[in-house]
Amino acid sequence: MENKEPLSPHIQIYRWHISSLVSISHRITGIINIIAITIICFWASLLLLGANNYEVINIFLVSFFGKFIILALTWSFLFQVLSETRHLIMDLGYGFELQTTRVTGLMVIFGSIVLTIIFYLLGKNFI
């Protein structure tokens, strides 16, 4: 046979649904969170070296971009917390019915967004 048997298409054609979206987002936010925590730790230790470093960090944090990053990280952490809770419940053997997985998946997605908004408003002293 001249041609080796081809591999049938997989991720290119398979339709996404809520559980697979939540699952992949769980992984992505997990990686982002680890990187973010590492950077935050570095920043915290930089504070020991003096006021200059504090200034630099502060300038970044009050900038528009800095605020955006903080908000994005807030979402990413909240998503992780909710999604992990969903996984813990599943590890106990509950919530495997198709309809339930859809509902809990949507709760994770929208819950994380709603909580992010609440955190933002709390930070702004609006509530």
């Binding site: 559980s19 697979s20 599943m90 495997f96 997985t101």
Partner: protein, 259 residues
């Protein structure tokens, strides 16, 4: 490591276009994955215009119609046509299922038909399931009893029999395993939902005496714990079974019993 893109020889090219010859007003485009082992060409996607006025309701009917009336060269597996044998498992409209039980009315737009995902293709819609069958054999899917009293029946209470519901109905069509991204990336080591559901079926069978050994066998980082509850398996199962839950139950048993 997972390879997201398709290898060079598997990239899908544009294929032939079969225009409708019946003059029907009610046409649907059906895109079908084609690969001919006798040529050195890459796979291609052929498009057929099908007259839906004279076509029964299932995807398998569409395929039969194309094979009988438009293009007899197309190859696919089918046998019972009633969702019992599991031969006609394929990917339709981006989701795995049995062509004989999947109504084409459930798919919007063009009907895309591919072989089961991430398999070596033998021809057209026929994927190579040898790897999956070997894994199935590895879990020793038969009753193991060392009892000496072979003259009497092995009694099973109604409650114990009930534990097999949702596991014994599996027809091994491979819709679930080939829908699982973990199985795509680690199919050589991870057993996948279909085989793990069967492993579960023998683990919970009250008549089987090798429960501990069976549990020990699947208690493996790669064989079992590659399941990350993505749940593509449960949503793909054409028999409405729940492999993801069975896998979770095995994990639970391993966490609560000392081997």
């Amino acid at each position: 490591m997972a390879q997201i893109s398709l290898p060079e020889n598997s990239k899908i090219r544009k294929g032939k276009y079969f225009k409708d010859k019946t003059g029907s007003k009610n046409l649907r485009k059906v895109n079908i994955y084609r690969w001919d082992p006798s040529t050195g060409d890459n796979p291609r996607l052929d498009t057929y215009e099908v007259d839906m006025d004279n076509c029964p309701s299932k995807i398998l009917d569409v395929l039969n119609k194309i094979k009988n009336e438009i293009d007899p060269t197309i190859a696919y597996r089918r046998s019972c046509a009633h969702g019992v044998c599991g031969s006609c498992a394929m990917n339709m409209g981006g989701k795995n299922g049995l062509a004989c039980t999947k109504p084409h009315s459930e798919i919007e737009g063009d009907i895309d038909v591919y072989p089961l995902p991430h398999l070596k293709v033998k021809k057209d819609l026929i994927g190579d399931l040898d790897g999956l069958y070997k894994q199935y054999k590895s879990i020793e899917p038969w009753l193991k009893s060392n009892s000496k009293s072979k003259k009497t029946e092995i009694f099973q209470s109604k409650e114990d029999r009930k534990k097999l519901d949702g596991a014994y109905e599996c027809i091994m069509c491979a819709c679930c395993s080939t829908s699982c991204p973990s199985y795509w990336w680690n199919g050589d080591k991870y057993l996948g939902p279909a085989v793990l559901l069967q492993a579960y079926r023998w683990i919970v069978d009250s008549r089987d005496e090798e429960r501990q050994a069976r549990l020990k066998k699947v208690a493996d980082e790669l064989k079992l714990y590659r399941c990350h509850t993505i749940l593509n398996c449960t949503s793909a199962c054409p028999k409405g079974l729940n492999p993801a839950k069975a896998i979770a139950e095995i994990k639970k048993m391993l966490a609560t019993t000392s081997l």
